[in-house]
């Protein structure tokens, strides 16, 4: 496998969606190609960082207000029902 092919298959490799033969070829290439190894490691680290950082929530004050507004709308439909 060449670097260009590894680049093309990188996401499938990370997501374990390559067939056995291609996965083996990718692993063989990664064992000997420094740049591709770095590409894999830094892509995986990128994903990890975004997953860790991405868990934001609605700010507390807004959350309370939103809850109240939506609850009122939800219960008013019951009364109209």
């Amino acid at each position: 496998m060449k670097c260009e092919e590894l680049l093309q298959y990188l996401s499938d490799y990370i997501d374990q969606e390559l067939d056995e033969e291609l996965a083996a070829e990718a692993q063989e290439h990664l064992a000997t190609c420094h740049n591709c190894r770095v590409l894999l490691d830094t892509t995986q680290q990128t994903i990890f960082l975004f997953r860790e950082q991405g868990k934001r929530t609605i700010p507390a004050e807004r959350r309370q207000r939103l809850f109240g507004q939506l609850q009122a709308a939800f219960l008013s439909e019951k009364d109209e029902g």
Partner: protein, 197 residues
């Protein structure tokens, strides 16, 4: 964990506890998607409201063929795209993927091996925020749904109404672009650090 069919039945009875479960389970997820797409907390709050109100209107017709989460994400995604189109008529989301070349990596410094604490949490967060904000909308949407919200490829395709192969192509491109941006910005910061070393 709750049974989704039981929750839907309780919501149809306008059970107050069921509403609380619905809100607690899904409001942050919808908010995260919307704020990621719109980069505006106030507008994202509006999307949450609109999404839940639409769900209340349709709850009696909701047949449960898709999961509640998928349905909510889809409404939130479409509402967010409608909002973005008002400002940007030629949104990248409309452009065909074939027009895009695969991003070629140029930076091969292995920042994944740098010691922990080399960059502060605030510095890392700032770079992540910059990188994702710079991502074209069509890649950002897929990345948010797959990586942050944890939807499967199939669920993401259902939410965004594109093919599974298109989801995979866009996710791959998003990952490469973000990796490159972080490599560039982290290397620059560490270059400053080394200069003071």
């Amino acid at each position: 964990m709750f049974d989704e069919q039981e929750l839907l039945a309780a919501l149809r009875r306008h059970d107050s506890d069921a509403f609380t479960i619905l809100f607690e389970t899904y409001s942050d997820k919808i908010y995260r998607l919307a704020v990621g797409l719109l980069e505006n907390e106030l507008e994202a709050e509006g999307i949450v409201q609109e999404t839940f109100l639409r769900f209340f209107e349709r709850i009696d017709q909701f047949e449960g063929r898709s999961k509640v989460s998928t349905w909510l994400y889809r409404v939130a995604y479409n509402a967010s795209m409608d909002y973005l189109r008002r400002d940007k008529p030629h949104l990248s989301i409309e452009l065909a993927d074939e027009d895009d070349a695969l991003p070629m990596p140029a930076i091969f410094s292995d920042w994944s091996q740098w010691p922990e604490g080399l960059l502060s949490d605030a510095e890392v967060t700032a770079e992540l925020d910059k990188a994702i904000a710079a991502l074209p909308e069509k890649y950002r949407a897929i990345f948010l749904l797959r990586e942050i919200e944890g939807l499967s490829t199939r669920e993401t395709a259902h939410v965004t109404e594109i093919s599974i192969s298109a989801v995979k192509v866009r996710l791959h491109r998003a990952r490469l672009i973000l990796r490159e941006r972080l490599a560039e910005s982290f290397s620059a910061r560490i270059g400053d650090y080394a200069g003071h070393g």
